[in-house]
């Protein structure tokens, strides 16, 4: 009795009861489908998170925040709690082998820009020279904001290639030109374009900000100049980032840097301290959250597979009962128990495999539809497909074995007599 005969026999049986076969498969389809959808969605989300992660400087990024100590004397911030430029300078000097550059993004301000009597909305970012590393862009013409721009509080700015083309016809043509920006609040500033950056945006980011053209209005200027304009102390920060040099042990250095700040500058502060977060630890946190989410949904998928498997078992038991007489005839014709058992297990596996295949396709489809909403699609992972195929076969064998064994052990005389 070959496998081929068993398979064609099983398919003939399923064809005879199409509705029943479909309903039985449904449980498997939903189970496998959700597993595949989740794993597809998982890799989509991971890819998106990696996008953001890389756009912020990748694994070399390290973030410093002022936070409360575990038992703070007060629960509000004072000016003297903030990190000062001198602290950052001292820090940079103390660890020349680890700090590649300091990145400051001291927030952004909305505004409008007047060009040829037309008004454009803009967002002006107050940044340090190092910020280019975090924004993952390249300078197409001219240069980025420089140290001297910051030190001398110059009115310089970097605009995007798209803006340059729109306003001045070409990237090169924009260099040295002046733009006038009216900031929210009424301040009007004149900025000299010193550089043009390449505008780029990736999947999930574009979804988050919506219309790409709307977002393409970022202008970068020295954070010190902006600080002066806003009348604030130009040189204090609630937060700053650094890029570490390649090869730095992020975890160890984070600890060292934290200790340095807290021992040197915050020893006498009764409420506040500086905490350092590595990109890795943040990535790990996100990974962990994704992992928990996936696990939770996998458990639900697992339960639905279990229910699906029980459905298969139930239908196989019905099928064995219905075909008791056929089993008797087959035995009378000389079918050994093993052949009967194989026949029913193959049938159960076929149900599960067809269900699994439909489930895989459904899952890939659903995962990618969800992915489209997020803005990224991912090819299904071969591993999860193989796993799903293997799993549906295992369900077929596991839940098919008992009914098949029952069929195999039927007494031929009783079976032949069965009405």
């Amino acid at each position: 009795m070959g496998l081929f005969e068993n398979i064609s026999m099983a398919l003939a049986g399923l064809r005879a009861n199409k509705m029943r076969a479909f309903l039985t498969m449904l449980g498997i389809i939903i189970g496998i489908g959700s597993v595949i959808a989740i794993s597809t969605l998982g890799s989509i989300m991971e890819a998106s998170v990696m996008d953001i992660f890389n756009s912020q400087g990748g694994s070399n990024l390290m973030q410093f925040y002022v936070t409360m100590k575990s038992e703070p004397a007060r629960e509000y911030y004072l000016d003297e709690d903030l990190i000062t430029g001198e602290m950052i300078d001292a820090f940079e000097e103390r660890f020349p082998d680890e700090v590649e550059c300091v990145i400051i993004n001291n927030g952004s301000t909305g505004g409008t820009m007047n060009i040829r009597h037309k008004e454009y909305d803009v967002t002006v970012y107050a940044v340090s020279p190092g910020y280019i590393r975090q924004s993952m862009t390249t300078v197409e013409a001219g240069r980025y904001i420089s140290d001297r721009d910051c030190e001398e509080l110059r009115y310089t700015c970097v605009i995007s290639d798209k803006q340059a083309e729109k306003l001045f016809g070409s990237k090169r043509g924009a260099i040295g030109k002046r733009i006038t920006v009216t900031l929210t609040g009424g301040d009007m500033i004149d900025l000299t374009v010193v550089g043009v950056y390449k505008y780029q945006i990736s999947g999930i980011m574009s979804t988050m900000v919506g219309n790409i053209d709307d977002w393409n209005n970022e202008i970068y200027m020295p954070y010190t100049t902006m600080g002066r304009l806003q009348g604030a102390d130009t040189d204090t920060f609630f937060q700053f980032n650094i890029n570490t040099k390649t090869g730095t042990d992020a975890q160890k250095f984070a600890e060292k840097a934290e200790n340095y700040f807290n021992d040197t500058f915050y020893r006498d502060n009764d409420s506040m301290q500086v905490r350092c977060f590595t990109a890795e630890s943040q990535m790990a946190m996100i990974d962990e959250m994704l992992g928990i989410l996936q696990l939770a949904i996998s458990v639900i998928a697992g339960i639905s597979l279990l229910v699906g498997g029980i459905g298969v078992m139930n239908i196989m038991l019905v099928s064995v009962t219905e075909r008791t007489r056929e089993i008797g005839v087959r035995k009378a014709m000389g079918a050994p128990n093993s052949a009967i058992r194989t026949q029913f297990i193959v049938e159960s596996i076929i149900i599960c495999l067809i269900g699994g295949a439909v489930g895989i396709l459904t899952g890939i489809g659903m995962g990618n539809i969800a992915g489209l909403i997020v803005g990224t699609t991912a090819p299904p992972s071969l591993g999860s497909i193989l796993l799903a195929v293997g799993f549906s076969m295992a369900i077929g064998i596991f839940f098919g074995y008992y009914p098949a064994n029952r069929a195999a052990k039927l007494d031929p005389i009783e079976a032949l007599r069965y009405e």
Partner: protein, 256 residues
């Protein structure tokens, strides 16, 4: 009592080889070892020589079905010996029993028992399938058999597209598939009208005459039994009559 013959019966009796069926002191009990123990067959002894068309006749409750199950290797006697074509069936295990059924016995049932949703040709192939015969050979043999039962033009038909008589002819072809030692027919005309039943009986006669098949016909119909070479009559689990072979001059008789 049930195991008394076990040790001394191992060597095949000399006469067993000459007969297709050699039953010696067959006892069948149910619920063995319980207070409800029920003996259905009380020690039956008979031989069937090769090529004989024999009918076993008895009223319902006579033990006819139980005897048939033992002859058909669907069941083992509680005690006694049953040699089928020289092989001791009473000692066979389940797997060996299924092989014996496959190779040595061709069943024909009252209700045809064709496998549903399976073509006539595939039904005939079934015993060969379990016998491990290659697909092409199966197909050729099945076609041959379809010709013998004059059903060639129905090869692709499903059982539900066939009349009762046609189904029974397919079932007979199936019974012959592995060229078994005996064809065991259990009330083969019981579900057919008399005209169709006649055709089926004619087919058995033809197989007996032209192919020299050994046929065991189980029936309660004396008219049908009269057509056969020999009639064994059973009642209450005992053989109460055996005509011997009326055509060949008492060849299979006198063995009781």
């Amino acid at each position: 009592m049930m195991k008394k013959n076990k040790s001394k019966s191992t060597p095949v009796p000399t006469d067993a080889a000459e007969y297709v069926i050699s039953a010696r002191n067959i006892v069948k009990s149910f619920y063995v070892g319980t207070p409800n123990e029920l003996e259905i067959l009380h020690g039956m002894t008979f031989n069937v020589p090769r090529g004989e068309f024999v009918s076993i006749v008895g009223q319902s409750g006579s033990g006819k079905s139980t005897l048939m199950n033992i002859i058909g290797a669907l069941d083992r006697p509680t005690s006694g010996e049953y040699f089928l074509d020289g092989v001791d069936v009473s000692k066979a295990n389940d797997k060996e029993l299924s092989q014996i059924r496959n190779k040595q016995i061709g069943f024909v049932f009252q209700t045809f028992n064709l496998i549903a949703r399976t073509s006539a040709l595939k039904n005939i192939e079934l015993p060969m399938l379990y016998g491990g015969i290659p697909a092409r050979e199966r197909r050729e043999r099945a076609k041959e058999l379809l010709e013998i039962v004059e059903m060639s033009e129905r090869a692709g038909h499903m059982p539900n597209e066939l009349s009762g008589g046609q189904k029974q002819r397919i079932a007979i072809a199936r019974a012959m598939a592995n060229d078994p030692a005996i064809i065991l027919a259990d009330e083969p005309t019981g579900a057919l009208d008399s005209k169709t039943g006649r055709l089926v009986m004619d087919l058995f006669h033809k197989l007996h005459r032209e192919q020299g098949k050994t046929i065991v016909l189980i029936t309660h119909n004396n008219e049908l039994a009269e057509e056969t070479d020999r009639i064994i009559t059973i009642s209450d689990g005992n053989i109460i009559g055996d005509t011997g072979n009326r055509r060949a001059g008492g060849d299979g008789s006198g063995t009781v």
